[in-house]
């Protein structure tokens, strides 16, 4: 799956959460602040594969750790897709 980030997102970082404003939809979201790390690995004009993204965050992890991190990232990606902060890039 290829993913692309919505452009011009603004965020305000707090200790455990982050507030993200999407000027494209006018919506403001309160999210787990780890979202920023994931969004930080994505581009607004070049698609990233989900597999590469998961690989980036699971380097040097055991299989068990990889499974947990992959599930966590997948949940976040699903949420970001639902909120339209990222979208699936069709070739």
């Amino acid at each position: 799956m290829l993913l692309i980030k919505s452009s011009n997102l603004l965020h305000e970082y707090f200790s455990e959460q982050v507030i993200v404003f999407d000027p494209n939809t006018g919506q403001t979201h309160c999210l787990d602040n780890n979202v920023i790390e994931i969004l930080g690995q994505m581009s607004t004009n070049k698609s990233n594969s989900l597999a590469q993204l998961k690989q980036f965050f699971t380097q040097e992890c055991s299989n068990d750790e990889k499974t947990r991190i992959n599930d966590y990232i997948q949940d976040m990606i699903n949420n970001l897709l639902q909120l339209k902060l990222i979208r699936v890039h069709s070739l």
Binding site: F14, Q17, I19, F21, T28
Partner: protein, 305 residues
């Protein structure tokens, strides 16, 4: 017109004449309203409640031309109704003539909320004491206006009962110092607080129940042009038989609550987000539940010192 002439310098006849003819021009915080109406209840309430407000003339730049007029036709005679107009536009359904002054107040709020997008507007009371300002955002029925009136009668400067005006760049709070709208039981509670309170007429059977407006203090109106730096946001809630409980609230939650209480966050878009972020960054954020007047006043007194 002499500078800083207030409405109290005019007699009833002159106020009535202006309201009936070209309109009475008043400075209301940073806004200028031209008010027209031939209704005696508007004359009486405006004279009583806006006595300390600065009179302006038609040569000044007027932001809002508002009027309260009786409806025409059959309903002029049977259960007469009134309409609010901003210029020639009437945004509300007609109401019974007895609700003329509350309708004028709601209409003036509507004008500001619809047009003053050079501020971030929050549905909130704002008060200040010893340079410490508190923003009290709350939904209807949370006891915001009652708490606001209590504080205003206990040495706090009233900036606003209904709407916080937040500068988009500096985050400074600008004052309106308009009448405090009290409902139902809170009218008695506040009347009992002081013999010096001045109320407008009591109006029954509005869609918010019984309503009366409390005149803002002369000092609050005198200092209306002085903005203050935001110090704290406190989300108040009156709960029967609840001992006072103050909790620090995390800033992300406060951020989202501020947005929920904003009239124009969506209109301001990026500027709104940046202003809320800057505001939250510089204030303390708390939730407050209470039932006792004494306890809540003691809390705010300590807070101001």
């Amino acid at each position: 017109m002499p500078k800083n002439q207030t409405l109290s310098s005019l007699n009833t006849h002159e106020i009535s004449k202006r309201l009936n003819k070209d309109g009475l021009v008043l400075a209301v915080g940073p806004f200028t309203f031209c008010i027209k109406s031939s209704l005696p209840s508007i004359v009486n309430n405006v004279q009583k409640i806006y006595a300390d407000f600065q009179l302006l003339s038609h040569d000044d730049l007027i932001d809002f031309y508002v009027s309260i007029k009786k409806t025409k036709g059959i309903r002029r005679f049977i259960k007469p109704q009134i309409n609010f107009y901003s210029d020639d536009y009437s945004p509300f359904l007609p109401l019974p003539a007895s609700q003329a002054f509350p309708l004028l107040e709601w209409g003036m709020n509507w004008c500001i909320a619809q047009h003053a997008h050079h501020y971030l507007l929050l549905h909130s009371a704002v008060l200040e004491k010893n340079g410490k300002s508190v923003i009290l955002p709350a939904q209807s029925g949370s006891g915001k206006s009652t708490l606001c009136a209590l504080l205003a009668l206990n040495g706090w400067r009233l900036l606003s009962d209904e709407m916080a005006l937040i500068d988009l760049k500096s985050c400074q709070l600008h004052a309106l110092a308009r009448p405090i709208s009290l409902k139902n039981e809170s009218i008695k509670v506040i009347s009992a607080q002081s013999h010096n309170t001045v109320f407008g007429e009591i109006v029954d059977d509005t869609n918010k129940g019984t309503i009366s407006h409390l005149k803002p203090s002369t000092v609050s109106v005198e200092y209306v042009a002085e903005p203050v730096r935001p110090f704290a946001i406190i989300f108040p809630k009156y709960q029967v038989n609840q001992a006072i409980n103050v909790q620090e609230t995390d800033k992300a939650t406060a951020f989202m609550s501020v947005i929920e209480n904003s009239f124009n966050y969506a209109v301001l878009a990026e500027a709104g987000f940046n202003t809320v972020a800057a505001l939250i960054d510089q204030v303390q954020c708390h939730t407050l539940t209470y039932s006792s007047t004494e306890e809540v006043l003691a809390f705010f007194e300590e807070f101001a010192h």
